[in-house]
């Protein structure tokens, strides 16, 4: 029973990362129609930024949690201006080539300088230790990760669903051309939206740093699951990305109770089932994608 509870929490923690990454992917795909394969590498850059801030400048976790996503987000905006921009209207194959190529360049660039081996990053002192709830004790930092990512997801949901900016993002996601014809300068929002999606990935990276060793390849494993989550939730769907993120995290961890090998399979099994039963994803609508 304790094991089930522990796995449930582990699932929520994994789900938190899936949700943050998929959320960024969904927002970017929605507005730019670009599948950003470099998302995992940008997540890794977030973790590395936190690591470097601590190593070279003595800047701790809490500041890094704010500064790293903003910095990487701005870098993302530059990336959109210089490179991603050239993809619009081209065959999706170029999208794959460019963003996957960027992934390899970012990963190898970091590897060249810091090597493949993971670097440890300490959890903030305030969140050291563990919290015991009845039968089980669970690391405080991980509970913080769950709570913090839920707060971030709710905040993003609020902006998307309740503000004029979010309304424009939803309209542009659903029908970009019509949105333009109604007097909205969709292009003006493209760069900030990309930067925002990238900042979410970097935020995930900072959050991951104290739990996982900071290494050049840390994003490449996660990103595969994030893509499965985006498909399950429905391409471009904000709520879908968040719900599917936590769902996949929890189901995978619970499945691991029966057989550890299932943990990595469950996301793709779920994706296959969703594609068969609801091809547009749990929260997607085919109408909105056409």
């Amino acid at each position: 029973m304790e094991y089930v509870a522990l796995q449930l929490f582990n699932g929520l923690v994994n789900g938190a990362f899936y949700a943050l990454l998929s959320l960024g992917l969904a927002v970017i795909f929605g507005v730019l129609r670009v599948v950003n394969f470099a998302h995992g590498a940008l997540y890794m850059l977030g973790a590395f930024a936190a690591y470097l801030l601590l190593q070279d400048f003595g800047v701790g976790f809490w500041v890094a949690l704010i500064v790293a996503p903003i910095g990487i987000g701005i870098a993302g905006m530059v990336l959109e201006r210089l490179l991603i921009r050239r993809l619009y209207g081209l065959d999706p194959l170029y999208n794959f080539l460019l963003t996957f190529g960027l992934t390899l360049m970012i990963q190898d660039g970091v590897r060249l300088r810091y090597g493949l081996q993971g670097q440890p990053y300490p959890a903030p002192a305030e969140l050291a230790g563990s919290v015991s709830a009845g039968l089980v004790a669970y690391p405080t930092y991980r509970l913080f990760v769950i709570a913090f990512s839920i707060v971030v997801c709710v905040a993003v949901w609020y902006v998307i669903e309740r503000t004029r900016l979010g309304m424009i993002v939803r309209a542009a996601t659903e029908r970009p051309e019509l949105t333009r014809a109604l007097g909205i300068n969709v292009d003006r929002w493209v760069t900030p939206v990309f930067g925002f999606g990238v900042a979410l990935a970097a935020l995930g990276g900072v959050l991951a740093a104290p739990m996982r060793n900071v290494s050049p390849l840390m994003g490449s494993e996660l990103i595969i699951f994030a893509f499965a989550v985006v498909v399950i939730g429905g391409m471009g769907s904000i709520a879908g990305a968040v719900v599917a993120g936590f769902l996949v995290g929890v189901l995978a961890s619970l499945a691991a109770i029966f057989n550890p090998a299932l943990e990595n399979v469950i996301a793709f099994a779920l994706m296959a089932v969703v594609l068969l039963v609801r091809p547009a994803g749990l929260f997607g609508s085919l109408e909105a994608r056409s």
Binding site: E177, I184, V186
Partner: protein, 242 residues
């Protein structure tokens, strides 16, 4: 050459001059020239595939493979992006109504920015269409087809756009709703709004319009006064294949 109707027209709100458009190899519009005077309601009639929708899309700036001049209140707009044309005073009601599923009814109404003094603030729209007020928090596509059409036209009116481009607003509507659309357009016209209307329904066209252009194979073949259309209805219906 298109025949022109006899009546002298006030200064044109919309002038299209030598407009051609392609879809890859296919020529969709060939040197189309037309004008709509300030406060006038003009329809474009023609068979399916004659190029009516393409023409509206070109005017709106949604079709890239096009050339020619488009002037809005004397200002050349053919170099402007779609959103700039909307802000210059073009309102667009697309053929599929263009209601967003991910936006609530009220969001659908308030998405486009106000571009001029509007005679249709939200309060008047809600007064005229109480159902939109009742459903304002529902997803736009949860409305019936007719309600979506009212929403689409109301959305264009709310911006205060001086020239409306409407693509078959009566398509698929019950007769009572067709009358509703007619009343709405007549009211907008009384208030000085200029309308270019794509229409298959000739009866509807003659009840609301001042003049008509007959489009065939991407070209304007005739410019007709309303009385001419009424007089030649059966001939024109045969041409339209209705």
């Amino acid at each position: 050459m298109p025949r022109t109707s006899g009546k002298p027209t006030p200064s044109p709100a919309l002038e299209v001059d030598g407009l051609s458009a392609r879809y890859g190899e296919a020529q969709a519009l060939r040197e189309v020239t037309l004008h709509v005077a300030q406060g006038e309601l003009v329809t474009l009639v023609g068979r399916n595939g004659a190029g009516k929708t393409t023409l509206l899309r070109c005017v709106m700036g949604l079709h890239r493979e096009s050339s020619g001049s488009i002037r809005l209140n004397g200002r050349e707009i053919s170099g402007l992006a779609a959103h700039e044309r909307a802000r210059a005073g073009l309102g667009y009601v697309p053929d599929d109504r263009g209601i967003f599923a991910t936006l609530a009814v009220e969001e659908n109404l308030t998405l486009p920015p106000i571009v001029a003094n509007t005679r249709w603030p939200l309060a008047r729209i809600y007064e005229t269409f109480p159902v939109l007020r009742e459903r304002r928090a529902h997803a736009g596509t949860k409305l019936s087809g007719g309600e979506q059409q009212m929403l689409s036209i109301a959305r264009a009116l709310r911006t205060g756009a001086g020239v409306l481009l409407l693509d078959e607003p009566t398509e698929g509507l019950a007769p009572v709703l067709v009358q509703r659309v007619a009343a709405m357009l007549q009211e907008a016209k009384r208030e000085g709004t200029t309308v270019l209307l794509v229409e298959q329904n000739l009866r509807f066209a003659t009840t609301v319009a001042d003049r008509h252009y007959l489009l065939a194979q991407g070209q304007i073949v005739e410019a007709l006064a309303n009385q001419e259309v009424i007089a030649r209805e059966s001939e024109l219906l045969r041409h339209l294949g209705v």
